[in-house]
């Protein structure tokens, strides 16, 4: 009886782990966005999952919001600290996120470039008006706003 009970527990645990990771990309867990992060940062672009960059990148970004990829995205001190703290706590620690990409851009990470290489995503896709730029995840990743980048949900627009 003990043996089969243990097996059920292990199986239940495995099922739970599957449920947790079902929506996620194969390597990163889904983290519920901090409300103020979503409110402030998703005003202009997707609330990028914090696990997509290492803590050092997030720190630099949060320390230079007034010069945020060509715009002034500055926030008041308290809000900045709140968001910075949450990003640091939830930053990527998996091996593939350990590099700090050029200009701290997710879209310049080695893993991003590999997943979106020409053989996977034709180069002309990035030029389509419906897509705009590689930073516009939701153009193709239809559940990106929910933190899900599952391959099944991809629809590349014309």
């Amino acid at each position: 009886m003990t043996h089969s009970f243990c097996k059920s527990i292990v199986f239940a645990g495995w099922l739970a782990a599957c449920a947790v990771t079902a929506n996620a990309d194969s390597a990163s867990p889904v983290v519920t966005p901090l409300p103020v992060y979503k409110q402030e940062c998703a005003a202009c672009h997707l609330a990028y999952p914090p696990g997509m960059l290492p803590a050092a990148s997030w720190q630099r970004l949060m320390g230079s919001l007034n010069k945020h990829y060509g715009t002034d995205a500055s926030l008041d001190k308290v809000v900045t600290q709140d968001i910075a703290g949450w990003l640091k706590a939830n930053a990527g620690t998996y091996k593939r996120v350990s590099e700090e990409p050029a200009q701290d851009r997710i879209t310049k990470s080695a893993w991003f470039l590999r997943k979106h290489r020409d053989g996977e995503v034709p180069a002309d896709v990035w030029k389509r008006a419906s897509v705009g730029s590689p930073a516009n995840c939701a153009a193709c990743h239809t559940n990106a706003a929910q933190g899900s980048f599952n391959e099944r949900d991809i629809k590349i627009p014309k």
Partner: protein, 141 residues
Amino acid sequence: MANKFTYSRKFIFSPLLLVALVFSVAGSNAQAATPAEQLAGYTAQAGTPAQPAKGQQLFTTRHGKEWSCASCHTATPTVEGKHASTGKAIGPLAPAFNAERFTDTAKTEKWFRRNCNDVMGRECTPGEKADVLAWLLTLKR
């Protein structure tokens, strides 16, 4: 009959209440105000009447930098706009077409501060803010 406690209550409570009020207003991040109230505020600061035509011109021209306000908000912001860099949809800016607009002074100030910096390289003056808001309020259904 007055005693030492009545006196101290009167002199402690009302200043405390006043201080609490001041702190609650100063400390809060969201401050509700209608678009008309915000326009009145900027007009008062500017010391001159708001001019919608000037506001429209400011909004739709470039000021030495890459973007104008219209680059993201469109030239007649009664419709959805689009972020010039990320492509993200932006709700209409004219209050008559979007009930949320200009209802929170802290939010208004934050966006004016950042976006005027992007468009003009400086803060907008109260007069400029008044002109723009006055023009936006002329955009009706």
